[in-house]
Amino acid sequence: MSKVHIQTKINGEEVEFLCEPRQSLLEILREGLGFTGTKEGCNDGNCGACSCTVDGVLIDSCLMLAVEAEGKEIATVEGLASSEGLHPVQQKFLEHAALQCGICTPGFLVAAKALIDHNPDPSEHEVRHWLAGNLCRCTGYDKIVRAVIDAAQEVRASA
């Protein structure tokens, strides 16, 4: 199968790759480019473990073809922390013990950051509604919801 040349930006850096038209963005991120922080849980858009943002919009990267990434800006969990340290959502997940096995965590973090970018002061219900596309089987969500509310507060305080 002939491959397509794609130019894109991942976590702020120019990236180019060759992909088959049938390959998902998730597959290219993980198998092609080594961004294995983005996880695969179902490959059909129902678990959210592969959450990324594309031009700031939260997506399931298993449901987007890699060829659609041409000219887009992709953000993955690997881009959340900076040289100054963890992003508040990452720090609050640790402080609140909001992860157990951790496989869903990258997706939750990307989704939570997208929520806070979009709505800096979400209510508990808004957090639960926004995160309903991300499945966690370990925590029962309680500590995740608390961590996200706390992180939003932290982001507001430092803004």
Partner: protein
């Protein structure tokens, strides 16, 4: 120094977990993230039929596809006539059925049963190759219900399987592999004397552990015969043992490297892909990686058994239980060996019942081979017992919580299956319910009801090993054999830190592979913080012993003149002479070299079971039958909570799995045995939006069988939710549901029957 009744410096605090940063930055390497140069990708062909004889398999077209490197089937297993029983830590399984479940031999026993494996240069080609394998099946009628399977004229899955009953092979050919029976006292006479007797039937659907990370395995079989497997497993050594048995390969040449694991809940104890990846690697001399699709996970890995449970309880007019009887049949799936014996142990585990009878049946049906799921079989039986308890309290006009307290099991209680309890915290768990703000609070809306229940898990001990190497800067590298599914590295390290007087952050805990640490059983049975934590405690004492010798050398005194207390080594005869742990660590190079401590345990007794109880407030939509959770409290006896946040996390997570089991989750089968809902869209586990906060209350009744009083908390919490919710629905709208899941149509049907006077 550690004092069982004293104050701890590390235990009971909430440090950030050691592997936390890796896991919030995407740097942690899970099984599916494993990559090697030249690696091949595999896929597994699965049976489209629930029950069929495999007449022939033709792999030639698949092998001829460009990019395909190897195809394997059950015929590639080395020949063996042995059929040993292999202990998986939470129950044994036979070699023959283990092999058959990895790759079908002559029959397929469920839709999704693995038939062949392919390795190719990429996953897409492997997928295409799978479609080119030609299998000729003789389709047989499926057996999908446990009670049908037990009928005398039922289609037999395994033509030569006979029932073992009362410890002996009956010789009777049947789908029932095992019948367990226990009798205590004289149940018939006791029932005859009872003022109230209630007997009810319950059924529960097959449900899945639902871990978010699919099974995966990467294998490299080198030409010198050394096999290495990287995988997400609950037990590296258990995987090694299974690989050795299935492949007839020496475990000395079988190394298993446990990668980070994305959930297990009992489902990642058996091997599925590991032996297939190994066979493919042996054929290709390349590393081969296999990952399941989500449908493969649902259809091809062990769910927890569907069940039929009948419970009868009798009480006298004073509200004391006089007799109990339980009949339970569990679907083991395509091969025998469900966790039914655990259900036998748990069904009356919460109460003092002086006379009783329990019959348990393990029954094969054409569904995936069932395996453990968090307190396996305890949830199904708790639904039955706790619903009947509620009904008896109502008939006697007693308070349902007081009725439970009046009959609660305690130290010295003999269970119907024979076990006599040591100190347990069942009463304190219920008292915490009684004393909670939630229990006192009013309901907040129409059609709401409040239910309670209690559940039990016995917990296991098993074997663990820890080594501790002291660094020059006084930190310690800790290698432990338990794979870490939910923060156990930290709870183990904290127990070490407590003994040696360091901070949790001074310990660097790592999970070892089968070549770097002593044999350690699975992360299962709520045993890891208990047993591997105990091994860390022993390793810490070994380190202290060696370091006292070093201090004695420096002070030119006898070893027993060196005292260790509260993190300080002191000379008993010279108050000026003292070292803290870090100061002495800095002297190791000059006093004999490295200090490495070891700790191993195999607790035969003193494991100490755990009890969990719920208050569930539900709100029933009378029109749609949808049941919402308005408020939810979970209480559990942790013995001693090492890291309270992660104890709460276990309690909350187990509760929500129980809520999903109660309301949403089930394998939905068509008549021909196809699972019709093998996606996370249609097999719906709870989302954040389905739930309120889950309020945890930790009870601490120290376990006398552990140095810090720990009781494992991983499992008991999944048992009570379905019963608490069923009891709450009754309080809300006056109907009793005895079938899981309690999905909307069943609630509506019950309401309609009630309206019709049924």
């Amino acid at each position: 120094m550690v004092d069982k009744n004293g104050n701890y410096k590390v235990i009971g605090t909430r440090p950030i977990r050691h592997d936390g940063t890796e896991k919030v930055t995407g740097q942690a390497i899970y099984g599916g993230d494993t990559r090697f140069p030249g690696m091949l990708y595999g896929h597994v062909l699965r049976s489209p039929h629930a029950h069929a004889r495999v007449k022939s398999i033709d792999t030639s077209k698949a092998e001829a596809l460009e990019g395909v490197r190897a195809v394997v089937t059950g015929a590639d297993f080395p020949p063996t006539t042995a059929d040993d029983m292999i202990d998986l830590g939470e129950g044994p399984t036979s070699l023959k059925s283990m092999r058959g479940n990895v790759l079908a031999l002559d029959k397929v026993f469920y839709k999704g049963h693995a038939v062949a494996g392919v390795a190719a240069i990429n996953a897409h080609i492997a997928d295409e190759a799978i479609a080119l394998i030609e299998v000729e099946y003789e389709v047989l009628p499926p057996v999908l219900d446990v009670r049908q399977a037990m009928e005398d004229n039922a289609t037999l899955l395994h033509e030569n399987m006979t029932t073992t009953a009362f410890g002996e092979d009956t010789g009777k050919k049947s789908n029932v592999s095992l019948h367990l029976n226990h009798v205590l006292g004289d149940p018939d006479a006791a029932f005859a004397s009872a003022a109230v007797v209630v007997e009810r039937e319950f059924t529960t659907a097959t449900v899945h552990q639902g871990y978010i990370e699919p099974q995966n395995a990467t294998a490299m079989w080198k030409t010198d015969g050394h096999l290495t497997v990287w995988t997400s497993t609950q037990g590296a050594f258990t995987t090694q043992k299974q690989l050795g048995a299935v492949l007839d390969h020496p475990i000395s040449k079988t190394k298993v490297v446990p990668q980070e694991i994305g959930g297990g809940f009992g489902g990642k104890i058996p091997v599925y892909l590991e032996p297939v990846a190994a066979l493919l690697s042996r054929k290709t001399n390349k590393p081969v990686k296999l990952i399941m699709t989500r449908a493969d996970v649902f259809e091809g890995t062990g769910p927890t058994p569907g069940s039929y449970v009948r419970v009868k309880l009798g009480a006298n007019k004073d509200g004391k239980l006089v007799a109990g009887e339980a009949y339970m049949a569990f679907e083991s799936g395509g091969y025998p060996g469900s966790p039914m014996p655990c259900g036998v142990m748990c069904v009356f585990g919460c109460y003092e019942i002086p006379n009783g009878r329990i019959d348990g049946f393990d029954v094969v049906v054409n569904k995936p081979r069932s395996f453990a799921y968090r307190a396996p079989c305890s949830t199904q039986v708790a639904l039955a017992t706790e619903t009947v308890m509620d009904e008896i309290a109502e008939q006697l006009g007693l308070d349902r919580l007081q009725f439970r307290l009046d009959n609660i099991a305690a130290e010295g209680t003999r269970r119907v299956d024979g076990m006599v309890y040591p100190r347990i915290g069942a009463r304190e768990t219920l008292e915490a319910i009684r004393d909670s703000e939630h229990w006192q609070a009013a309901l907040t809306g129409d059609n709401q009801g409040r239910g309670i229940s209690i559940g039990y898990w016995f917990n296991v001990g098993l074997k663990s090993a820890v080594t501790a190497s002291v660094n020059k800067d006084g930190t310690v590298n800790l290698v432990e054999g338990s794979t870490d599914i939910g923060g156990s590295r930290t709870s183990i390290a904290m127990q070490f830190a407590e003994v040696v007087g360091l901070a949790a952050e001074d310990i660097n805990p790592q999970v070892g592979d089968t070549s770097s640490i002593g044999y350690t059983d699975v992360t299962g049975g709520s045993r890891t913080t208990y047993a591997t934590g105990w091994a860390a405690y022993e390793a810490a004492h070994d380190v202290i012993r060696q370091m006292r010798e070093r201090a004695a050398k420096l002070w030119e005194c006898e070893d027993d003149q060196v005292e260790f207390d509260d993190g300080i080594f002191r000379h008993s005869g010279d108050a000026a002479k003292k070292y803290n742990f870090k100061e002495l660590a800095n002297e190791l190079d000059e006093t004999g070299g490295p200090v490495v401590g070891n700790g191993t345990v195999d607790p035969a007794s003193g494991v100490g079971g755990s009890f969990a109880a719920n208050i569930a407030d539900v709100e029933v939509d009378l029109e749609t039958g949808k049941v919402g959770i308005a408020r939810f409290t979970v209480v559990q006896d942790a013995g001693k909570a090492i890291h309270p946040s992660y104890v709460e996390g276990q309690m909350q997570g187990g509760s929500v799995q129980g809520i999903g089991w109660a309301l949403n989750e089930e394998y939905f089968y068509t008549d021909d045995g196809n699972m019709a809902n093998s996606t996370f869209l249609d097999y719906r586990i709870p989302t954040a939006l389905d739930l309120p906060m889950i309020e945890p209350i930790i009870v601490e009744v120290p376990n006398p069988g552990h140095p810090f009083g720990v009781r494992g908390v991983g499992e008991a919490n999944i048992a009570p939710p379905p019963a608490a919710i069923a009891n709450a629905i009754y309080q809300a709208v006056g109907v009793r549901l005895r079938e899981l899941p309690m999905r909307p149509e069943r609630v509506v049907a019950a309401l309609q029957a009630q309206a019709a006077g049924g």
